[in-house]
């Protein structure tokens, strides 16, 4: 049943008994054309676009827990397309355009709020870098604007403009960027995919791959074997342990990223913004809480929690750029698993095993990529060819040297 005002009215008159569950609790079939391993945002988006754009309906999404229970259920909600490098920026702009049409496409309210994302710039050199990045954004068909200090002071009076160590000189603003409700994105893609015949199978953990002579013919799961011509893995921070079952080592290591929410406050932030002299970024949710984060915890982990010294670091950055935040109380914190890659950029590629595909290495930036990741992965799975905007997301780029390293940090996953 379509979600619209007429159905809300009609159902309201008849006791709301007509609403159907948003997706079926499908039982696994013995065989599919394509299995998507991982029921997060990316996996569900992939399944949706396989069905909606490529006519592939014999598709299953296999999720070890409940859908969206990983990073899609615990992120800082910002969506933006403000990258520098040619291998990245057109991809993220495709994602931004898909975000802009997503609620209509899925018939689901994802609370898309294009409130803008501002990157603060604290020196002449940093401003020059900001100009370069704004030009890269504009060249990709996105929007980017440089605001000077006077314009910033009008809209962000609470920032520490005259800080002696890192004064605020300018800001790079992407007006079309913003936030979306992370759970709703998962549920929206799940419902839309289910309506096109995709089986969403929860509480079903992949325990192995059926691989013989370099060919993958399906998976072993906690609910029995399932065959498929193509198996598409996208499990974010669990990439290492899942692909190890296929005998593969990856240019990826897993780290915890902590994020935080403050008590509800009256509206204070006109956009999301990031600090240029330390790793800190913040937005304000519709419930009023400030949603913010900063650096990774430095050591490999699967524990989905981090250490208190990071909490202190993030709080110090917050108070340095926005002193008044020091009066707000911290309400909630959590940690998620980041699949940090060797150049800080993702992979959407076939593996050396026929029939086995890999999507991962999103580091801490996977949420904004959700629509384009699904769109491009579906295209690769359906046609065997990558879309141009994702053509550089190859697993062999570490060997060929075609690294996509936005921060220029080199082969240290935890520095990206």
């Amino acid at each position: 049943m379509k979600y619209n005002a007429w159905n809300i009215f009609r159902q309201g008159l008849t006791g709301n008994r007509g609403w159907k569950e948003a997706w079926r609790k499908a039982e696994p079939k013995p065989e599919y054309d394509i299995i998507v391993v991982g029921g997060g945002g990316h996996g569900l988006a992939t399944a949706y676009y396989l069905a909606a754009k490529h006519g592939k309906h014999r598709v299953a999404v296999i999720e070890k827990g409940w859908i969206g229970g990983g990073n899609a259920g615990r992120n800082t909600t910002i969506v933006r397309s403000n990258y520098l490098l040619a291998g990245n920026q057109p991809f993220y702009e495709l994602s931004m355009k898909l975000w802009e049409g997503l609620e209509q496409e899925l018939n689901y309210n994802v609370m898309m709020s294009q409130r803008g994302m501002l990157n603060l710039l604290h020196s002449d050199a940093q401003r020059d870098a900001g100009v370069r990045r704004a030009n890269a954004m504009i060249m990709s068909g996105a929007d980017g604007a440089l605001l000077d200090r006077d314009e910033l002071e009008q809209n962000y009076p609470f920032l520490d403009f005259d800080n002696a160590r890192f004064p605020i000189k300018a800001g790079l603003l992407q007006r079309r960027a913003g936030t979306a409700r992370h759970d709703a994105v998962v549920w929206g893609y799940a419902r839309a995919a289910d309506q096109l015949g995709v089986d969403i199978i929860e509480n079903c953990e992949v325990t192995g791959f059926q691989i013989t002579d370099g060919l993958c013919t399906g998976v072993e799961t906690s609910r029995g074997p399932i065959k498929a011509a193509k198996t598409a893995v996208c499990v974010a921070g669990s990439s290492g342990r899942v692909m190890a079952m296929a005998g593969m080592r990856l240019p990826i290591e897993s780290f915890a990223l902590q994020a935080f929410v403050s008590e509800g406050l009256k509206p204070v932030l006109p956009t999301a913004f990031s600090f240029g002299a330390g790793h800190f970024y913040v937005s304000q949710s519709d419930k009023g809480g400030l949603v913010f984060g900063g650096d990774l915890d430095a050591y490999n982990t699967y524990a989905q929690r981090g250490s208190l010294d990071i909490v202190q670091d993030v709080a110090e950055c917050a108070v340095a750029v926005m002193p008044s935040i020091g009066r707000a109380r911290l309400l909630r914190s959590w940690g998620g698993l980041m699949d940090m890659s060797m150049d800080g950029s993702p992979f959407i590629d076939q593996t050396h095993i026929d029939g086995l595909y890999f999507n991962g290495g999103w580091c801490y930036g996977g949420f904004k990529a959700t629509p384009a990741s699904g769109f491009c992965y579906a295209h690769l799975l359906a046609t065997g060819q990558p879309l141009a905007v994702a053509a550089e997301y190859r697993l062999d780029r570490t060997m060929s040297g075609a690294m996509i390293d936005e921060k220029g940090q080199g082969a240290h996953p935890n520095r990206h």
């Binding site: 080592r249 990856l250 240019p251 990826i252 897993s254 982990t301 524990a303 010294d309 570490t398 082969a411």
Partner: protein, 94 residues
């Protein structure tokens, strides 16, 4: 997280900087070929469970440690001086 330094006793992990997997100590030579060097630089086991890793005591005695830590529980089971690990690998005792 507390790291029990073999010489200095229990220290806050914040005194250290983390480098990565202890396999970084096994740097290949040019004779091993480009694939070996590629795999050394770019590929990782990234295991769930016990992980041997390199920590540098930047704010202490500036020694390198090989720490064995469970990546799921964060429990540290073993701490050695990296120098001792390297010496043992080379078959020496000095």
């Amino acid at each position: 997280m507390i790291i029990d330094h073999p010489l200095l006793g229990p220290r806050d992990a914040a005194e250290f900087t983390y480098l990565g997997a202890a396999t970084l100590m096994d740097r290949p030579t040019p004779e091993d070929g480009p694939k070996a060097m590629h795999d050394y630089v770019y590929l990782r086991d990234n295991p769930v469970g016990l992980h041997r890793e390199l920590w540098y005591h930047a704010q202490g005695d500036r020694s390198w440690l090989v720490v064995t830590r469970d990546t799921m529980t964060q429990v540290i089971t073993h701490v050695e001086l990296a120098r001792d690990v390297a010496t043992a690998k080379a078959g020496g005792t000095s």
